[in-house]
Assembly symmetry: C2
Homo-oligomer: 282 residues x 2
């Protein structure tokens, strides 16, 4: 675990450099609060581990990983807004709009998404072609068909109409896309070939599904104290836990993780070990 | 004016292709409503005229221009939200959040900003280096130090503290940055040298200032019927019109336009003629 602490340190230091200093921009304080609130840094760590797994340098994926972390932070800000999930607490603290106002929260999300593209397009450690490919990959993960569309479907689809197929595609759009971008992006940065990139995508897709199932499970079984965010806020929504019950969901998490590891071929690697460590409840 | 109609047609056709079809994405209808609501397309037209002015092809700047138009549309959506300016009408119709809901409006703004980067990074008519340069230019215009920061300052700065210097920098952040990106981006696409790019920037900076002054003037003197958006919504804010009065503001618009034209050198060109046509009240 000391290797992961050092990756987190690199990520925190680099994020600190990629965001404006407090006082230099009116959005500096809220974006820093959003990015330094005790997140696991799962996406940048996975991007770095993927780059190493496919034969590149971990640090070559640092800026791309930070870009994913900014997008993830932006998505949490938006999810918590009153017109979305109306969250009061996140990671044990009041949500960003409760601390800084809705206007500041919304503009912080915009600035973070924008800064993600700034980091990718300015990443001088990568070739121009790689930067553009990562930019297109991020664009596919965030907008139409990605996070924004997934959030829209989640808010507007009548819960009564949800079945396994629509929940699966919704989960992919809401959680899977950034995991896929992290793992596939790491492989691209390492110069991996098409087959290796495809295995990274499949690994990430299964991992994202397991992660979402685990998150649904947590929302159903945890209390506010244990979670640090509003528990039972998914209470009025259809999730796999409401469709399948707890036991089947737990069993499926195990199956899906096995599928992820099979996609990878090599089970005994830091990337797989880290992926498993993300889901302690499984 | 027939040349400009043909540019607008190209822009509308291309925007139509760069956005998802209705029914194919839950955000397709609101983003289309935001992008096809009778805007002048000033930013993409300026980008195209700039590309031609500096020796390139107008159509080489079409996708970049559409990216700017998407960002502009996103900024209008956000400005109108209840936690921002709380606008009811825009271009003669109810604002996007009144038609589709706040959640859809906010996610549409995110998706449009994201799609702007998708369009730039995927623009195969430009070299990889040019696309990255345009991406970095857009990133500088939108986030920290740009539109988002400008909107934050506009909402939170105590109006009482505003003087000419802070209003000028605020106007630059709120309006100037996208004009600068349009004109400088067109010059970059044409392969213009550093001096030419600098003259494009200065022209755009002055033009943006004149445009903001004109907009302030319109907000103070127009009625809802004439404007198509909420008149007098700037009534409780300090603007150049409240600092200087109408007459001095009108005179300054003329001076600033002269400065813009001097920066350009060549006064008798389609770019200058179009720029002047944007401010009929001057």
């Amino acid at each position: 675990m000391s290797a992961l602490s050092s990756q987190r340190e690199f990520i925190d230091l680099r994020l600190d450099r990629l965001l404006p200093r407090s006082g230099l921009d009116p959005l500096a304080d809220p974006v820093r609060a959003a990015c330094f609130s005790g997140g696991k840094r799962a996406r940048p760590i996975l991007a770095m581990l993927s780059a190493a797994h496919f034969g590149g340098r971990e640090l070559a994926a640092l800026d791309f990983g930070c870009a994913l972390e900014m997008v993830h932070a932006a998505s949490l800000i938006l999810d918590d807004l009153p017109c979305m999930d109306d969250g009061a607490m996140r990671r044990g603290a009041p949500t960003l709009h409760r601390r800084f106002g809705e206007d500041a929260a919304m503009l912080s999300a915009i600035a973070l998404l924008n800064q993600a593209y700034a980091a990718i397009t300015a990443d001088e450690g990568l070739t121009a072609e790689t930067r553009l490919r990562l930019g297109r990959m991020l664009a596919g993960a965030v907008g139409f068909g990605g996070l924004a569309a997934g959030q829209m479907r989640d808010l507007r689809d009548p819960a009564a109409l949800r079945d396994e197929a629509s929940l699966t595609s919704l989960n992919h759009q809401k959680t899977g896309v950034l995991f896929v971008a992290a793992l596939e992006g790491g492989a691209v940065i390492a110069g991996a070939d098409g087959a290796a990139c495809a295995s990274a995508r499949l690994f990430a897709d299964r991992l994202g599904f397991a992660f979402q199932l685990w998150d649904d499970l947590q929302d159903c079984t945890s209390t506010l104290e244990a979670m640090g965010k509003d528990a039972l806020q998914d209470g009025d929504r259809v999730t796999f836990v409401t469709l399948w019950g707890e036991e089947r969901t737990r069993a499926t998490i195990k199956t899906v993780i096995d599928e992820a590891l099979s996609a990878l071929g090599n089970l005994d690697c830091p990337m797989a070990a880290y992926a498993l460590s993300l889901m302690p409840a499984a």
